[in-house]
Symmetry: D2
Subunit: 338 residues, 4 copies
């Protein structure tokens, strides 16, 4: 951490600052320049609050030098984290394809869709039981019943199930879920992250629409600080000025997250683009960029879907996309699932 | 709502679409052009899901024509909503100044700060008991004890208290709080909004860092759909590419929200800018733009604050700012408080 | 400037870096930490290229500590720059109101509008002769003839004229213009900035839609480095995800630019918001935030305007807005014009 | 185009609007709803100015239904545009790799780099002669001499040359250049676009940092409206709130531009990310997403580069990246060059 002092900082204020730093166990190195004096801090600066430094009279600015995340930091954990989910593994070089409808709507819909996804080559099943909707007048999901239907679909297909939690108080309902998803709007719902930190289940943590990668890493840190190391990042597009796509898919986040962290990375091209014809090229892009998993919305009959109709693939279209995905996995020498 | 048909849409698909629309109770008007056919919908389109339309084979695009919010819409509720809070009122032409520390840290700190705020002219007291922090290693707030200390400070000063909720499960702890704040990161925590919809307390709803004004209006709609009409918007800066300020304060949101909705609007210059020297000019700007309230961070000793030290005003600086605020209120003929 | 070294930087590479820094005349101070070594640079770092440092093997990252602008920097030029324009002055505490149509369309239109603006209290006249339009099929302006019509309108009303340049090659045509405007899309047209640096005329430099304040300051630096010190900044809204307004007007840019620089600041609420009902509140906000000038679009008959019809004020509406502006100027003790 | 009328629009104003539309040759279809009346326009609406409609008393809002670009629109030109450049072709299914230094610095540097690029498999040579730099104190390029050195390098290697123009007045200097590049900051420098429309040379048009894809399409339309059909789009990252990468590379722009337009698309991973370790994964992603070309910065000695040192590849690293690119081209059945 580097502190830039004000041009005419008075000595008393600088002395108080030094005293304060000493009490926090870091040593201060002064560098005096012609136009600017700076202090470089040596030691464990993780307990130092930047805002607190900024409040001191003599301080003009503060620059962080180290990453604020530790448990999620590859520097301290060089080996890839691998996360077992039932009889498969995320993060071991394989590609997982998590497919299924936006919302679980009824038994027939989820069963038909799950069977079609399995047949096309999906390795996990997704489906929303609790739905975050912008409008209070939209379909809000089946809740508990939705989870029960997912479990039924898992029994039928063998596919591990992934579904979203919106409230820490509901955690008990997810006891038999395989991967718990945190949606983009809840990426900084810290109460929820703390609750998930205490359970051991794999968490698929979606990047918020307006959250930096550092904030995403810090949200993983929240879960890991609670003791749960099984976090999977999910890039699902960020909010920009562009209006032709629903969001802007940041594919560069994939190799960057894998460089900065040891945790696996998933990409969701369905929510990122909101455009059916972009799912295939964006899936392939994500895979060659190093994604460990894809999450793709598939519905047995998108025309009658209760949510996100416009971006869900039909089983036929999904089968086509999977053919290309299998092909590129073969080229890259990456197994599909397992 | 207007549906743009694909260039070579087949008749069967268009017929199915028309049937579907008819079943939803809206009538479809065809407009045939040389290069594009469109359908204009007449009737109550609020139950029609845009995504669902987009999933139909013959549909190229859909344009909404009406606002998706109703209870928050000034078109249907032309009169300003006024919200009584203890013996004062928000939204009746007066200006409320909500001041206090980022976090409640201990009895001495909140008491000293509250008394100083009151003396300077603040009309309500803010203070965080539950704190959303980016890092799990930062101070997380005093929780329940923090609320108790705020109540003590209210008893001493008479100032109504405003504090943030992060979890619907904590609602009972807020029984004696005057205004419940929803933080920017929770603006689309729909479970929390639903919980607040069921309680009658005034809610100060902060705009999310990356949320549009329409989404803010829809989040108010969530609370109102549950039966609680006492919502106050709070503009607190949005996330942009600019790095010199913490966020970009969107002052134009004030008159715009007041045109679109009948609900009162507050502005938080402290979080928006993160820069002490900008609090005064941005407060004055907000007031002349029509804000019903300001929320300003004040700390009896910012240098030792446990959070947000760099942007909290000292009581001395706050007194200076209040002098300017009182002066402009007098000029505008707007009472301070009451 | 602070250089953060890679964790396992080899000594030879660090030596080469030190040698290089020495050759550029700056001295390097080492700070060795447990997990990170950094080098603080002392001396004139303005000739050091950050990218060049980043290319060295041993360097992980670089943090700038000083502002890269000098001539535009208030630190080195504490006094406000005042810019005489004919018999009036920008930046001396007065408020200038630059009003007029988006485009000069014909003699009758510009004359009628200019006379109406003058009567309502405007202190300068704007009007586009060269028009940057997104579509090649839109009206592109009258060019040279437009400038001649503006000069005629100045003769009639006495109002100094402000008009936009799009090409350095046209500079001769602007010989009798009072203030040359650089549009948002040309803020980083460095060839144009260099050409303007060589002429002595006042330049109204509009902030680009996606440009940071630091970049705006650097573009002023371009003009000033060429010898022309008469630069006026103009905040006209930045591009964000919000769609309800044309752009997001960053009012906080006004006090911030005035703190960082000694140059005057103008605000253009017409282009920033694109909404007629927001011109008045945003104008007042800008004035209380410290703006030295406002630029407002006024057209004698907006319904028949060849460009920007939807955001231009009628003379009647402009007169109403001016009444409020005069009133707040009186309150603030700021003269209008002069 | 659809016009939404104000709730209480008076009949006289609506009649005037209808008259106006009739005069412009479009027919108006009324749709009367319970809460909203709309008018659907049929005919050629390209001459209708949205802003002009918004200025009418009775109009609340306007929604466009058709794309505003024609010559660049695939709807009207279904076949891919192929652009011959010397003895190679862009857009015919092949992949072009445009490599070379950020700036041409001297003969030795450009020759060494060009030979290394050729050897590694590059199919075209890039190099900046005129450099847009944020700071007036940075290296501004060799200008004319830079172009002469590029021509020398072409003679030596046979690689067609690509270099940036910043000013239409310089066009003569580009007579022997193969592809003229328009930089991101000049994407809406309409004077420059018009000048390029009159010359027949291929133009590599970079997307502006804050420009939508529709605006990029409109800028191509400017060049094409002037008669030059040889436009190649280049996605090079957009400005977002993310700070870990220089910009956010929007890979989804590749398939989307190719769906909307018949023009070829290039991707520049160097400027988009600014991070050497991301060049390879982003290049591969772009290729599988359908890019016709890549533009990659390579320097014979990045450590001593006069600009962009931190993001230029060494010849060794570029050779590694090219091995992967060749491999994926072979897999996809796409020839490299030709």
């Amino acid at each position: 951490m580097v502190i830039i002092l004000k041009k005419n900082a008075d000595k008393a204020s600088v002395s108080r600052l030094e005293e304060m730093l000493k009490n926090k166990g870091v040593s201060a190195n002064h560098i005096e320049g012609a136009t600017q004096n700076i202090i470089g801090l040596v030691g464990d600066t993780s307990a130092i609050d930047v805002e607190n430094l900024l409040a001191q009279d003599c301080v003009e600015n503060v620059r962080r030098v180290q990453e604020p995340y530790k448990k999620a930091n590859r520097k301290f954990h060089p080996d890839d984290t691998v996360i077992p989910v039932r009889d498969t593994i995320i993060g071991n070089g394989s590609l997982q394809v998590i497919a299924g409808p936006c919302s679980v709507e009824n038994e027939d819909q989820i069963m038909t869709t799950a069977i079609a996804c399995k047949k096309a080559g999906a390795t996990m099943l997704r489906g929303g039981a609790f739905k975050p909707r912008t409008s209070p007048y939209s379909f809000q999901g089946l809740g508990k019943e939705g989870i029960e239907l997912l479990i039924k679909a898992r029994k039928e297909t063998g596919l591990p199930i992934v579904t979203e939690i919106m409230n820490g108080a509901d955690l008990d309902l997810f006891a038999d879920v395989d991967v718990i998803q945190v949606g983009a709007r809840n990426m900084q719902n810290f109460e929820l992250l703390k609750a998930l930190g205490k359970c051991g289940k794999p968490v698929l943590l979606k990047r918020g629409l307006a959250n930096t990668l550092e904030e995403l890493l810090m949200s993983a840190e929240y879960i890991m600080a609670g003791g749960n190391m099984n976090v999977i990042f999910c890039e699902r597009g960020i909010r920009t000025f562009e209006t032709m796509t629903r969001n802007t898919l940041d594919i560069s986040a994939v190799p960057l997250l894998k460089q900065k962290s040891h945790l696996p990375v998933c990409v969701d091209p369905s929510h990122a683009t909101g455009i059916i014809s972009l799912i295939e090229p964006m899936s392939l892009s994500a895979v060659v960029a190093g994604a460990d998993a894809l999450e793709i919305e598939v519905h047995c009959d998108p025309k009658s879907a209760l949510s996100d109709g416009g971006q869900q693939l039909t089983p036929e279209k999904f089968t086509e996309v999977m053919t290309k995905i299998k092909d590129i996995c073969a080229y890259l020498g990456r197994p599909l699932g397992k």
